[in-house]
Symmetry: C2
Subunit: 530 residues, 2 copies
Amino acid sequence: MQESPVPRASLASGEDRQNLDLKLKQVAIDTHLENVVYLNRDCLIYRIEGFQALSKVEVVSGEGRITATLNVVDDPYIVGRDEIGLSEDAFRRFGVAAGAMACVRHAEKPASIGALFRKINGERLGRDDYHAIVKDISTGHYSKIELTAFLIATNNGELDRDEIYYLTDAMVASGRRLQWSEHMVVDKHCIGGIPGNRTSMLVVPIVAAHGLLCPKTSSRAITSPAGTADTMEVLANVNLDQEKLAAIVREHRACLAWGGTADLSPADDVMISVERPLSLDSTTQMIASILSKKIAAGSTHLILDIPIGPSAKVKSVPDAQRLRKLFEYVASRMSLKLEVVITDGRQPIGNGIGPMLEARDVMRVLENDARAPQDLRHKALHLAGRMIEFDPDVRGGDGYAIARDILESGRALEKMHAIINAQGAKPFDHNNFTLGRLSHEVVAARDGMVIGIDNLQIAQVARLAGAPKVANAGVDIRRKLGDRVKQGDSLYTIYAEYPSDLIFAMQQCEKGSGYLIGDETQVSHSYLEF
Amino acid sequence: MQESPVPRASLASGEDRQNLDLKLKQVAIDTHLENVVYLNRDCLIYRIEGFQALSKVEVVSGEGRITATLNVVDDPYIVGRDEIGLSEDAFRRFGVAAGAMACVRHAEKPASIGALFRKINGERLGRDDYHAIVKDISTGHYSKIELTAFLIATNNGELDRDEIYYLTDAMVASGRRLQWSEHMVVDKHCIGGIPGNRTSMLVVPIVAAHGLLCPKTSSRAITSPAGTADTMEVLANVNLDQEKLAAIVREHRACLAWGGTADLSPADDVMISVERPLSLDSTTQMIASILSKKIAAGSTHLILDIPIGPSAKVKSVPDAQRLRKLFEYVASRMSLKLEVVITDGRQPIGNGIGPMLEARDVMRVLENDARAPQDLRHKALHLAGRMIEFDPDVRGGDGYAIARDILESGRALEKMHAIINAQGAKPFDHNNFTLGRLSHEVVAARDGMVIGIDNLQIAQVARLAGAPKVANAGVDIRRKLGDRVKQGDSLYTIYAEYPSDLIFAMQQCEKGSGYLIGDETQVSHSYLEF
């Protein structure tokens, strides 16, 4: 048996390492949120470290440090033996100049991995565990696999209310927290799932015109055909840096911006990068995501819209009440004043579904245009009224009338224009939105009354038609619940910009239009506030 | 409001599509198990389809079809505007010649995604659901994210015993199933977690020498410092195609091969690609993985070793009994005769930990060398004896003596050499295994008796030293439970081939040697069979 020599004296001197430094370059490959590092198979460190394709490695250069997934390259044009390549976004995030010397090593497991495994095994975690996990997530130390494991292990029903609070609190702590130096900062949010439901773009100008401070940041669509940020983007720039946003809010009492640039609850954005491809919709994540974003944005008072309906996220009043309680508990632990409004989610709100079509509806309501969808107008006034009643000078029950006056007087429209111009107006003419160049009518197969509209099916058709990525694609609804139709009447129009999109959407409609036509007696009546 | 034109008549003709075909090329980037497709950002279809980096797409050319993740390229050298690139393994899997025309489109969600979501939401799934999911997994239709979601949602305790049976059955059905045309095909398996525990390489030659048919296929290490396949590979080729393996088994009644090449339960291999980076160890997956591999390999009789100890996978007798019951239930539904043996897992078995060190121990036992570790020898004889008792001609209780006779007579060594030569012997001299060129002694900090050895810590040190990737790295144990030591006595030696590996392993030892030194009265006595 041969005995091996003792370690060489040079081991601790770092000499070994220095010879293994590589010259940094950017590889012209876009791998989006996933950091990829490219090493030549013949490069010395690749062989010494026993790396393997898809290993998680850490690249270090001076102060720069980034975790990435390894791809091994067999073409010296892409990266040579003495080079280390980073994918485009990773190179930008790394922030070190091309040509600098960098070294690479096995990435250590994130510090919170033990806590993650305790959660996977069904344990209850404490405040420190959630802070450690969320910190690792927001700083990019979790791989996609680890991130997915966390999201599934904390899915519906796996967390108790205190754990949801810890998670929310940790998400707030993971990023910036805005201070508005005012006693009351109002906001509204809908849990989503209802196509067309673009009330924020009405509520915000109304309440700001009343004088409330409402610095609204919204997300882009995850699984829906349009988010508020996507829709507002048709009218104005929504990518505002924090200074610009603050200046706009100071001057106009409001904004309608995308929340992604403000570093608010950044862990949430990372988690969405997995929730999106998985189409995951978890109650836990919903509560933590919504409340952390609002609190980080500095909100003190929040109106939360929970729609109920057979194809809404929440199907029944008991489910809505359970969800309300959870939201209220976490909000109260976070010292956020929360008012939950349970609304009618049996069908889409408004007519247009897709960023441009929804922007059109919003502008029609603000302009008091006769073609404005009345359900959208009514719902927005109701929510704005409840929000105005946060104002201690307004008597309970007076909010709706105040909101209506602001809308009808044109003050809401004026405020909206001020916000649009401050954020940077897009060159559009709202009398002539250019919708997708291709269209298709979906018609009633029989005479009768519209007794059901499937939100999910309508949303899916709009997405296949191209929304939200193609802003002028989507669905324009012609008939609502309770409307009478004759065979061949248009139920809705699909708009698309690209042939293949239209074909996908039409194929989906062939499986089912999303409309149920029946008799007058079969229309379900709403038992809700509105 | 401008109305859009109706769709062009050419839409359904496929004309649009044909113009979008791209020329296939291999991109010299190794992305291992992850299929990656490279499209130039200026390529027409990229813009038309609204793809985005990391989209899941399907590439089609003639009969060829593959699902891949999209990377977007900004360098026409890597892929041009009229080209479509595939990463190295993906190109090979696609099986279409470079230069062929291919088209690309959005990948459809796997058919079983609905079932996956029902499981995520805590529902019990049926037989058809598991077959659909496992089929999608084994054919590469699940992304890493979807795969992780499935593994976490079916983790410990989430599946009842019938669901584990359905999963196992589906995994068997996902691949090839070997037929040996004999009444009895025996095998053994350990659930793992005990470093050094290399009994298979002893049991297989012993029982084959007795005449039993034992076509053993093993896995490589997932989270341990060595698997049977890694260790056997020190001595012989283990990558055998099915024909070669069958021929060896026909001639020698046994083999010791890697299971990965035989297309047995291929879904299991895909799942391991996520379990490995996550270090996930789920009871559900363990049962389904072990039993599906054994049944697909044609086994009719199985000895299953469940070690118990404070740092073993199973900590207590009640836990072991629960696990035994689950294994027995699923095995009986699958018509596999299963014998569970609960063993002492308080410390590593044998001395060497790491492929070469373990191969050395195995050969010493087979050669009846005085330096052979007695615990490994005794355990292997016990397991072999139980397996020999599957033979209806052997009386219960006689197996151990038969096994010992076979070992002591040299017939086991002779059988092992026959297997090694048949599989393809590696050029090694077992009297002079060349261990890692660097070594470090970990010594006792005080006088006393060894009263505890942490399996996990020892395994971790061996892995950091380079095992199993560096075959001659690992840990050689000098003291076992109950041994007396003086301060400064060696507890174990670390072997490494590369300086950085040795440093990592030494740093780990500084956190804790893995040994507990105490008084004679504190040694826990084993209450187990052996």
